[in-house]
Each structure stands twice: as structure tokens, then as C-alpha cells.
């Protein structure tokens, strides 16, 4: 048995990694809806979900159950093949794009097979990612076309036009980073940002600030989020391309949207914010205790808050969660070896969640673009600025050598 495992480790280990990643991402997706509803509710001075479980923490579970048990009607005269294909394609591509993201620096051996934190380590990972996102538009366009509904069709058309337009700016905005790193591999782009060990200062965000702004704006448009969510502008198009979808098929579009938000946040972190690198200089080893310093007080606060919760279930669950968090924090101090392993993923996730928060924050504050504004902004402003950024970076590298 053991021999069999080591012989086929090259296929078993990736499958296990994929299973873990998909489970993690789907859970994060579910809780992202909870975070989004809570954050927007607090921006608008409401409470948000707070009935299902303490602080509404079980709301994603209830939503998931609801999606599964809802009736899934088939609208009349739809193009059946395309109608069924669209949500699967969207979700599949969204999840696939996560495969090339490296989450941490470590390489380790499982069953004698050397592997790393992430699914695939391709040397053109950035291009692969763009290739997968480029295909993502089909899911939305097909959903809009196949539904046989004018709202869906308009939503699908809008989104294809929008995605074609903003893909150019998205691709051009990262050329500056590629020029600096000289490599398509996301891993080497992060490693290049280690620089001379000064932490934050050698991240790409400083030489590539314009590039980052273009990237982030174009990325929001690619993921169809506010203020670029015209494909599903509810005041004009009911729900845009997914008007005719219900039940689990609707949920698939929803999960795909959140997954692409995560992918884009990971990409922004890797390209411009040093990926898993700590913002502090490498000599400041005391910053390694930061995860514990954050986790223990947060855990204690959750315990304290949970003991006063209004019902018994909350008074049991919340202190339990708090104790677990504080215990993890304490364990990291006791076992410095685990603490070292955790550093990379900790910073990576901290940055990714900051970006996800910005996404939600923007949804809570910004109004939607008008369609002609969206198009002229993309073509007449964003694209020229990204090209100018490429030229500027190239000239700078030519004049001063490496940036």
C-alpha cells in the first residue's frame, strides 16, 4: 500500500491539494457573503443577518440549504445545452484560475514527492491565469443568450463588451511588473520583491503605483462588481444575465463571482504587494509574533462578547470559537517552528482579505457607472494610461538599470 502511494504520489498529492483548496475556497466564498452583508449593513447603519446562529454566523449554511432545495424551473424556449453549460463553465473557470496561485514560500515533501503551497507551479502562471479569465466571459455571454429573455440578453451583451474592453487594460497594466521581475512566474515575481530585505519598501506598489491603480480598476470591471456591475444592473435589467436562473444554478454564478474576487485579490497581492512577504524588514524577527498578538486578544474578546450573548446557543458557540482562536494564538508562541511556517500564509491571507474588504467597501459607497461612461472610461482613459505606464517603466529600466 505504502509503495503504491509513493509510486503514484505525483497524482495523489495534487488531488488532495485540490480537494483542500476547493473546500477552503467554497467555505471562504460562503462566509464572504456573510461578511459582505454584515459590512454593507453596518455602512448603512443596519444590523445585517443576525437571526440564524449567533451574529448570523450560520446564515451561509441556511442560504446554501435554501439554494439546494429551491425549485429549479426551466424557462420556455431556452437553448437547453447552452443554458445548462453556462453556470458550470463559469464556476469551473473561476475555480481553475486559483490553481496557479502560490500561497506561500515553503516547499515540502509528502510521500517522497516534493510539492509547495499551491496547486500548480507553471513558469508562465500569469499568462495561464489570463488565459483562464479570458474564457470566463463565455459563461456570462452564454447565460445571457441562452435564457431567451431580453434582460438576460442585454446583460450578457453588456458583460461581453465590458470584459473585452477591460481585459486589454488589465493585461497591459501588469506589463510594468513583468518588466521589473523579468519573469511570468508568479512565484518569481514575489521572490523578486524580497529585494534587499527591507520589507515593504521593495514591493512593486511603489514603482508601479499607476500600474496598480489601472490593474485594480480593470480587475473590478472584469469581476463585474460595483461600480462596474452593469451586466446585472438591477434597476435596469432585473438581474442581468442570471435573471432566468434559480436554485443551485444561480448559486453557481454567485460562487463564481466570489471566487473570481478572491483570485483577483490574490493576484493584486502577488503582483504589487509582495505576496506572502512580510511588510517589515527581515531583521525584525519580533514581528513573527504578530499573528499571536492579534489572535489572542481577538479570541479573548470573542469569549467576553459571547458570554453576554442573548441566547444559550450563542453563549456556548461564541466562547468556544474564541477559546479556539486564543488557543491557536498561544500555540504559535509555544511552537516557534509552526509559527515560522504560518508567517507566509498569514501575510498572504491578511493582504487578500484587505482587498476583499475594499471590494465590499466600494460596493457600500460607490454608485454604478452609466454604460457609455464605462466604455469611454475604459478605452479613452484606462487603456492610454496603462500604455503610458508600460512606456514609462521601460524607459526607467533603460535609464537606471533594474528598478
Amino acid at each position: 500500500m505504502n509503495e503504491f502511494l509513493t509510486q503514484y504520489a505525483f497524482i495523489i498529492v495534487p488531488i488532495i491539494k485540490i480537494a483542500i483548496l476547493v473546500l477552503l475556497v467554497l467555505t471562504v466564498d460562503a462566509y464572504l457573503t456573510w461578511i459582505e452583508r454584515k459590512v454593507i449593513a453596518h455602512i448603512q447603519a443596519r444590523w445585517g443577518p443576525h437571526r440564524v446562529g449567533p451574529h448570523g454566523l450560520l446564515q451561509p449554511l441556511a442560504d446554501g440549504l435554501k439554494f439546494i432545495f429551491k425549485e429549479d424551473p426551466l424557462p420556455a424556449n431556452v437553448d437547453k445545452a447552452a443554458y445548462f453549460l453556462a453556470p458550470f463553465l463559469t464556476l469551473m473557470l473561476a475555480l481553475t484560475s486559483l490553481a496557479v496561485i502560490p500561497f506561500g514560500p515553503q516547499r515540502f515533501k509528502v510521500l517522497g514527492y516534493e510539492t509547495h503551497v499551491g496547486i500548480a507551479d507553471v513558469n508562465i502562471s500569469l499568462l495561464v491565469l489570463f488565459a483562464i479569465t479570458a474564457l470566463g466571459v463565455y459563461g456570462i455571454a452564454l447565460a445571457g443568450w441562452a435564457s431567451n429573455s431580453k434582460y438576460s440578453l442585454l446583460g450578457g451583451l453588456r458583460s461581453s463588451a465590458q470584459m473585452i474592453s477591460y481585459e486589454l487594460a488589465l493585461t497591459l497594466s501588469v506589463v510594468g511588473v513583468l518588466l521589473i521581475a523579468g519573469d511570468f512566474s508568479l512565484r518569481s515575481i514575489v521572490e523578486h520583491q524580497t529585494g534587499t530585505g527591507r520589507g515593504l519598501l521593495s514591493w512593486n506598489i511603489f514603482p508601479q503605483f499607476i500600474g496598480f491603480l489601472c490593474f485594480f480598476i480593470a480587475a473590478i470591471a472584469e469581476t463585474n462588481r460595483v461600480p462596474f456591475d452593469l451586466p446585472e444592473a438591477e434597476s435596469e435589467l432585473v438581474a442581468g444575465f442570471h435573471t432566468e436562473y434559480a436554485s443551485m444554478k444561480f448559486a453557481m454564478f454567485f460562487i463564481a463571482e466570489y471566487t473570481s474576487m478572491i483570485t483577483i485579490s490574490c493576484l493584486a497581492t502577488i503582483l504589487f504587494f509582495g505576496g506572502w512577504l512580510s511588510p517589515f524588514p527581515v531583521t525584525w524577527t519580533f514581528t513573527h509574533y504578530l499573528p499571536s498578538v492579534l489572535l489572542i486578544p481577538f479570541g479573548l474578546w470573542v469569549i467576553f462578547d459571547g458570554m453576554r450573548y442573548e441566547n444559550l446557543f450563542g453563549r456556548i458557540l461564541l466562547p468556544g470559537v474564541g477559546t479556539a482562536l486564543a488557543a491557536i494564538g498561544a500555540a504559535l508562541i509555544v511552537f516557534p517552528m509552526i509559527n515560522d511556517i504560518v508567517q507566509g500564509p498569514f501575510w498572504f491571507l491578511a493582504k487578500v482579505f484587505t482587498f476583499l474588504f475594499v471590494y465590499i467597501w466600494m460596493r457600500g459607497t460607490l454608485p454604478r457607472f452609466r454604460y457609455d461612461q464605462l466604455m469611454s472610461f475604459g478605452w479613452k482613459f484606462l487603456l492610454p494610461v496603462s500604455i503610458a505606464n508600460v512606456v514609462l517603466t521601460a524607459v526607467a529600466i533603460l535609464m537606471w538599470g533594474k528598478l
Binding site: D79, I124, A131, W145, L153, T171
Partner: protein, 166 residues
């Protein structure tokens, strides 16, 4: 059968099936989708040959940009299902002999190349992005620049044509 050979046959079958379906489908959107399958299968074949950059570009340019435009235009025109017409005389009298001749030509070419096919270039030799761009900007710089000039002319032409409407 080795794993690469197996993958080759799966991708090749997919490409051929996609191409056949492209012709047989009655609806323009289904034809366009079949073409996308062909493009993606071809990208897989390039990947199998170690040409990672070409594979990625194949999907980004053909699968992502050009085919999206196709689908977009078909959706915008709201094209209906095609009606079957009687085969034209030209298709019967010129098409079938031409198809037979083409098949014969390919078969002859395959029959001639006796023995093992040349092994694909090892990954990174000529296929890496760096060497590819070095070649593009040194040896093939004139064709490359001419192509970009052609594309620029096409873009300008499109703008002129679009502006005449209003």
C-alpha cells in the same frame, strides 16, 4: 501507451470532433462554441509539445479575444437557426474532388515520413518566452513590424468605416 500519447489522442479527438461539429451545427452560436473547443484542444496540443507560451497565447488571443467577438456579433445580430438549402452544384462537383485530393495529399505526406516522427523540441529551448521574443525582435523584426503596421491600418480602417455611419 504512454501518458503523453494518451493525452494527445484525447485532445486530437476533441479537436476533430469540434471541427466536425462546427460544420454540422445548425445554429451559429453552437458552431462558434465548437470552434472554441477546437481552439482550446489545439492549445492543449501545443502545451503537450512544450510550447507553453504559444499555448497560453492561443487561448488568450483565439479563445479569449477573437471568438468572444464572434459570439458577441452573433448574439448582437440575434442570428436564427440556419435553414437547410439544396446543396449547390459547385459544392458537389468541385467540393468532393477537392476534399478527396486534400485527404490524399495529407495521407501521402504521412506515409512518406517513415519511421518515428521528429521529437518535439525540449521545453525551454526555443519555446520559452525569452528566446521567442529575442527571435521576434532580431531575426524576424521586419515581418513582425510589418504585421503590426497591417493591424494598425486595419484599426484605422475600422474607425473610418464606423464614423461614416453617423
Amino acid at each position: 501507451m504512454t501518458a503523453p500519447l494518451l493525452i494527445f489522442f484525447v485532445l486530437a479527438t476533441l479537436a476533430v470532433l469540434g471541427a466536425v461539429s462546427l460544420i454540422l451545427q445548425r445554429h451559429p452560436i453552437h458552431s462558434a462554441l465548437s470552434l472554441i473547443v477546437v481552439m482550446v484542444a489545439l492549445a492543449g496540443l501545443y502545451l503537450l509539445m512544450g510550447a507553453e507560451f504559444v499555448a497560453a497565447v492561443q487561448i488568450i488571443v483565439y479563445g479569449g479575444a477573437i471568438m468572444v467577438l464572434f459570439v458577441f456579433v452573433i448574439m448582437l445580430l440575434n442570428a436564427e437557426e440556419e435553414e437547410r438549402t439544396n446543396f449547390s452544384k459547385l459544392a458537389t462537383y468541385a467540393g468532393i474532388p477537392l476534399a478527396v485530393a486534400m485527404t490524399g495529399l495529407i495521407a501521402a505526406a504521412i506515409a512518406r515520413s517513415s519511421g518515428a516522427l521528429p521529437a518535439p523540441a525540449p521545453s525551454g529551448a526555443l519555446t520559452s518566452t525569452k528566446t521567442l521574443s529575442m527571435l521576434l525582435f532580431s531575426e524576424f523584426v521586419y515581418p513582425f513590424e510589418l504585421t503590426s503596421f497591417l493591424i494598425l491600418v486595419a484599426i484605422l480602417g475600422a474607425i473610418v468605416l464606423a464614423q461614416r455611419e453617423s
